[in-house]
């Protein structure tokens, strides 16, 4: 019986017009959002581990009201239950405060393993898994392109830039998986219908024993001073190849001293 918590994030759609709010935080309300694509791989791997034996998958998210869409999607894929931590005080939390909320929520759950995607598709920092592990005092095996669970040992393969590594850890373990771990399934019609009956618990900071002073924008250890849209790139010169495209390309390179 393997109990897996999968932490997922609701992110602004990358193809939509992403922006900031007046308080210099990412606008998560005014734009369409969805379950971060990279988290779908974590849900998929958790489901595969459970399907290979016995167990259950609980999907956990921290975010505004709309973040329940991300939980719903994971339930439609096959996760058994959901937890949505929502509290106005969380607004503007950075990776550190988010990792605190996640760690406290995970402590309240009955679990063996915690799965994450390798990073979010908005912030893209990729450190929440390692920070949650640090806070829980658990081993973190991150950036897995292959995951196997054997008894209470988790083995992963990591395809790094300079080496391919096999890594293992035992007991309760935090795992993050890459998009190379295997294609994520689409929810089936049956899955979509079944998800409607699945239990999603709504928790606040008070449920986790956290006070507002430990999270949120005002309590971050960093501060955004300003943001500005990047000036649009001025249109460059476009030529059509009439047998001389290669030569013109090299002329441009030479004018910029690349050749």
């Amino acid at each position: 019986m393997t109990k897996i918590v999968v932490a997922v994030k609701y992110v602004p759609d990358a193809t939509a017009d992403r922006n900031f709010s007046a308080d210099n935080t990412v606008d998560r309300v005014g734009v369409d959002g969805l379950l971060s694509e990279l988290d779908e791989y974590a849900v998929e791997q958790a489901l595969q581990v459970v399907e290979a034996g016995e167990g259950e998958v609980t999907v956990l998210t921290v975010g505004p009201e709309q973040a329940s869409d991300a939980v719903r999607k994971a339930l439609q894929m096959g996760a058994d239950a959901g937890v949505h931590v929502q509290d106005d005080a969380i607004h503007g939390s950075d990776a550190f405060a988010t990792s605190l909320v996640l760690a406290e929520a995970i402590k309240k759950l009955d679990y063996d393993l915690v799965f994450f995607g390798m990073a979010s598709t908005d912030g893209g920092l990729g450190v929440v898994p390692t920070l949650v592990a640090e806070r829980l005092g658990l081993p973190a095996v991150t950036y897995a392109s292959e995951v196997s669970v054997d008894g209470d040992t988790v083995k992963i393969r990591r395809d790094g830039d300079v080496a391919t590594q096999e890594i293992e850890a035992s007991g309760k373990v935090v795992v993050s998986v890459t998009d190379q771990s295997g294609e994520a399934r689409y929810p089936s019609f049956k899955g979509i219908m079944a998800a409607k009956k699945k239990d999603v618990q709504e928790w606040t900071l008070a449920d986790l024993g956290l006070d507002a002073g430990s999270v949120g924008l005002d309590n971050a250890w960093t501060k955004v001073e300003s943001f500005e849209p990047r000036p649009p790139r001025t249109a460059g010169e476009i030529v059509t190849d009439e047998g001389d495209g290669g030569a013109k390309l090299v002329e441009f390179l030479a004018s910029k001293k690349f050749v």
Binding site: F96, V162, A163, I167, S226, G236
Partner: protein
């Protein structure tokens, strides 16, 4: 002058270019102290401005993932109270530095493309949302722990003392839990590392699966080779070379996109490149909105001609 800790990356002892960039940036803030796990070429560190070189020698640093390195570095931060800690924005660099920031209750800023010091305050510049916004930020608690992207500055030599000091750290059992049981080095391609390269030449769907023209053109420029997600998903090029939202983010001096349409997912990984060139058959490909120079044409004809021309010029 206060000390600035710089975590050095030196595979097989050779100090990487991004580490030299960090030393250069550190000098804007204070006196750089290099932090080395294992061994590094100390002469290079000295030449690029390291006043001190802290070296750590313990098998645990190689046998386990980031836990032991993070504990050791956090202890050093507590001991030295540096003005800042600079780390390369690699996946390992981010994991180590984030844990150090948490352990020392210091603010952490990641993926800076610039770091400015003005008097006592340090301001970082980051590029977010596929390079569409520039964000300036600073740390309000503790010693700023900052990860800096490769190519954020040009390494400048500035010879310094480079006094070597061997340090030992107390590594807890809890840090030694994610064990590396095997490590197979990847075969070296002979090309620069993708995220560090000054020039990146990429291929996409338009290659039709044959990267030979892209590779030959890259080699004529001494460039790294990248690939779009479409090319990687088709199995034409390994995933470790993928540029884009679910792959690597690159910010070279020159990026040449060949047969790549320029979907937002790809742009997210290359939009901050200084100069962008595209070769594409489709004159309506969105990549042309980004370019400084574009050729509408077949890369199979344009690239070999360009490669030939470069070879001729180089004699």
């Amino acid at each position: 002058m206060t000390e600035v800790l710089v975590l050095i990356d030196a595979p097989d002892g050779k100090v990487t270019k991004p580490s030299l960039e960090l030393l250069t940036i550190a000098r804007r803030i204070g006196e750089p102290s290099a932090v080395v796990f294992g061994t590094a070429d100390n002469d290079t560190l000295k030449e690029y401005g390291a006043e001190k070189i802290y070296t750590y020698d313990d098998a645990a640093y190689d046998e386990f993932l980031v836990g032991p390195k993070a504990e050791a570095l956090a202890q050093l931060v507590a001991d030295k109270s540096p003005a800042a800690v600079l780390v390369g924005a690699s996946t390992e660099g981010k994991e180590i530095s984030a844990r150090v920031a948490l352990k020392t209750e210091s603010g952490w800023i990641s993926d800076a493309v610039d770091v400015q010091a003005d008097g006592g305050s340090i301001t970082t510049t980051q590029s977010v949302f596929a390079g569409n916004f520039t964000v300036k930020a600073n740390v309000t608690k503790g010693a700023p722990v900052i990860t800096v992207k490769p190519n954020s500055t040009a390494p400048e030599a500035a010879p310094a003392a480079g006094a070597v000091e061997a340090v030992t750290a107390d590594i807890s059992d809890a840090a030694k839990t994610a064990k590396i049981t095997s490590s197979k080095p990847k075969e070296a391609s002979g090309r620069p590392e993708l995220t560090e390269a000054a020039i990146v030449v990429s291929g996409g769907r338009g290659t039709g699966g044959d990267f030979s023209e892209v590779e030959a053109f890259a080699d004529s420029l001494g460039a790294a080779v990248g690939a779009s997600r479409a090319a990687v998903d088709s199995g034409w090029y390994p995933h470790s070379f993928q540029v884009g939202q679910t792959g690597k983010t690159v910010s070279p001096q020159l990026y040449v996109a060949n047969g790549i349409s320029g979907a937002i997912q790809h742009r997210a990984g290359m939009q901050t490149s200084k100069t962008i060139i595209a070769v594409n058959k489709d004159d309506e490909a969105p990549i042309f909105e980004l370019v400084d120079f574009g050729v509408v044409g077949d890369l199979k004809a344009v690239l070999p001609a360009a490669t030939e021309e470069i070879k001729k010029r180089k004699g």
